[in-house]
């Protein structure tokens, strides 16, 4: 049956209640949510991280995930990058009338699956259905609260001598989206993933973590430039140490993109003290064998890429819309 979400689903009446119970409560089930009060009541212990993000990705379903998975991973990762364990999330759906019910169901089920992996809960939410054309199929906002497990992880912390590590091969998510946008057939899967397990493992191993950042829009280039500016340091990266899959290389060749500029949704960069770099690498390799120490922090204020044959160049912030080179 091709049931569609109509405006009445967001009206607050019987259909809305049915939607909430049959879809949201059923999949996101937990006590706080099902209390169904005007607001969720939660008990926070100690320092707390709080973040919000809105997701408008197109296409809403892509190789390796969908907008739902992204909305959970994105917000949970923002928390994880501060050393906070994701605990409670809110979700706001803005649905274009006419969206297939089965699509919404698929998105919600995916979100529930992601949450189960890290024992986080959606404790409150809101649904709006808007006229056709007001949003592109579905937009999702998630806000998240996390318990800080390790304090003082910050982009201000980088010092000369610190090591820069990447948790896995880069560029997969951005490549998947670009491939879809330009109608190119590829087997690449988005790396979309909640990263709390990795961060927890690093905290448990007592690694001296200086900074963490997931390399979303703008990719590796954006993170490194941000850290360089915020900490007033130079970062030198060895080109041959950056892990890249063949498929990402292939697509970047075709379109003339730099893999370092492409978005990731399940890959993060760390800056750790030099003494801990090998230990940190070992921890990360348990999650993905492509984790790699890619560079180090030096005095200065630029991000520099070193080639394996002795030349150097700057890595700049990617600018504007990524367009393919003429070809």
């Amino acid at each position: 049956m091709d049931k569609k979400i109509t405006l009445s689903y967001g009206g607050g009446g019987e259909e809305t209640n049915k939607l909430i119970k049959e879809l949201f409560y059923k999949n996101f089930s937990n006590e706080i949510l099902e209390n169904a009060e005007d607001a969720a009541v939660i008990d926070l212990k100690g320092k707390t991280a709080f973040t919000t993000d809105s997701f408008t990705v197109s296409p809403i379903v892509f190789n390796g995930g969908n907008i739902g998975k992204l909305s959970i991973a994105g917000t949970c990762n923002d928390l994880a990058m501060m050393g906070a364990e994701p605990k409670y999330l809110s979700v706001g759906f803005m649905i274009e009338e006419g969206l297939e019910y089965s699509m919404l169901e698929k998105i919600v089920k995916t979100m529930a699956d992601e949450l189960k992996k890290i024992d986080a809960k959606i404790v409150c939410g809101d649904t709006k259905v808007v006229p056709s054309g007001s949003v592109d199929k579905i937009f999702i906002n998630t806000s998240g609260i996390g318990e800080i497990k390790k304090e003082n992880i910050s982009a201000h912390n980088l010092n000369e001598g610190d090591a820069i590590i990447v948790s896995r091969d880069i560029g997969k998510h951005g490549t998947v989206i670009m491939a879809h946008r330009y109608g190119v057939d590829t087997d690449i899967k988005s790396d979309c993933k909640v990263l709390w397990s990795e961060v927890k493992a690093l905290i448990d191993a007592d690694i001296n973590i200086k900074a963490l950042r997931d390399a979303t829009r703008g990719g590796l280039s954006a993170v490194l430039n941000e850290w360089s500016e915020t900490s007033s340091v130079s970062i030198e990266i060895n080109e041959d140490k950056i892990p890249l899959s063949d498929e990402v290389i292939g697509l970047c060749e075709i379109f003339g993109f730099e893999p370092m500029d492409l978005a990731n949704e399940g890959t993060f960069i760390l800056a750790v003290s030099n003494e801990d770099k090998e230990k940190a690498l070992e921890v990360l390799k348990n999650f993905n064998k492509n984790a790699s120490i890619i560079g180090e922090v030096k005095k200065g204020n630029k991000v520099i890429l070193k080639s394996p044959y002795g030349s150097k160049r700057y890595i700049e912030l990617p600018k504007g819309e990524l367009l393919p080179r003429i070809c």
Partner: protein, 372 residues
């Protein structure tokens, strides 16, 4: 002989060991040069390779590069970009063009801005897509704003051929294809840049054949090596140029043997000649009017010629560059981007004052990305 894999064709021509070995050879041989070698790489793609792989840093002091005008987007005069923008605003027109073009600044706007204002602009990465667009929009006029050097011209010709064969009557062409040899002549004739060696474009040469550069040897006694795109190709070509210089026997040589021949792609050449002919003159941004340097649609196909059909709304008044933009001198090889007073400040890839900053192949863009 070993089997060649597809990956080999990319990565073995970027092999760091090979680059280091060629660097050693170049260093050894360059001491024998009687005068400094000033190489112009014509093609914007080569500029990109040189900057991206830091090739300048690997060379001895007596070898330098002068960046040539081989960036078809960079040399487009503003008034012609305005043509594209004007056409895109016509109610029943879909303006299709290759990717980079949509960011190039005309006198007041860009195609990207026009698109944001509601104009129907489609950036393509395949010329063939025009056919699909025309088929899906039979009530619209699809105008293909065709740009590029000889590499891309045959594809436009093939498109015209197929469109005619498939009887698609709603495709029109605004031809801005340009040729490589005439600006090279113009630059050498002006004598100002003191170029004494050339790296010939890789893929233009696949179409034209290396024979297209004989005039450089015949009329200017300047050595030319047609080089492939990868860093190993460029390094090997530099070594070949050094040897030519030392022996003082300028000739046309092909380093890019795996893809280029002396004669070129004769079928492609024939296609081009079937539908297009050389214009008496064309204004190049920065270089001015160069005779016989660009193509137009042949008169027998004028019913599809966008320049003729929309002539009354497409003025040809030359529009000059921003006062402070020195793209012209950069394209002629007289100045480098760093000598421009607005480089990196008022003129950046996000906000380009001149075309050299827009396209990936523009010298200013390459310098901004890799060497600021």
């Amino acid at each position: 002989m070993n089997k060649l894999s597809l990956k080999d064709l990319y990565f073995k021509f970027r092999n760091p060991e090979t680059i280091k070995a060629l660097q050693k050879e170049i260093k050894k041989e360059a001491v024998k040069l009687k005068e400094p070698m000033r190489i112009m790489e014509i093609c914007g793609g080569h500029t990109h390779t040189i900057m991206k792989y830091g090739i300048k840093q690997l060379l001895p002091e007596n070898i330098s590069f002068i960046h040539g005008p081989g960036c078809p987007v960079c040399i487009m005069p503003k008034e012609r970009i305005d043509h594209a923008i004007t056409l895109s605003h016509q109610k029943d027109v879909i303006l299709a063009t290759l990717g980079d073009m949509i960011r190039v600044p005309g006198s007041k706007s860009t195609l990207a801005k026009a698109r944001a204002e509601g104009a129907n602009v489609v950036p393509l990465h395949s010329t063939l897509d025009v056919l699909e667009i025309a088929r899906k929009n039979p009530d619209k006029k699809v105008v293909f704003f065709a740009i590029g050097f000889e590499t891309t011209t045959p594809m436009t010709a093939a498109l015209i051929h197929t469109a005619l064969k498939q009887n698609l009557k709603n495709i029109y062409y605004h031809i801005n294809h340009v040729l490589v040899p005439p600006p090279m002549r113009a630059i050498l004739d002006s004598g100002e840049a003191k170029i004494n060696a050339f790296i010939g474009p890789s893929h233009v040469s696949v179409i034209t054949g290396a024979k297209a550069y004989e005039f450089l040897v015949k009329d200017y006694k300047t050595p030319v090596v047609v080089a492939g795109f990868e860093p190993v190709d460029v390094m090997e070509s530099i070594l070949m140029l050094i040897h030519q210089k030392i022996k003082n026997t300028p000739k046309v040589e092909i380093q890019y043997k795996r893809a280029t021949t002396y004669e070129g792609n004769l079928l492609a050449q024939e296609m081009i000649n079937r539908y297009m002919e050389v214009r008496p003159s064309f204004r190049w941004r920065g270089l001015g009017d160069i005779p016989h340097s660009a193509l137009k649609l042949k008169d027998e196909y004028e019913e599809f010629d966008a320049e003729k059909i929309w002539a009354d709304i497409l003025p040809n008044e030359p529009i000059n560059d921003h006062k402070l933009c020195i793209c012209g001198e950069i394209l002629k090889g007289l100045k480098t981007p760093k000598e421009c007073s607005v480089f990196g400040s008022a003129c950046t890839p996000a906000n380009p004052l001149g075309s050299c900053m827009v396209s990936d192949e523009g010298a200013c863009n390459a310098y901004y990305r890799y060497e600021r």
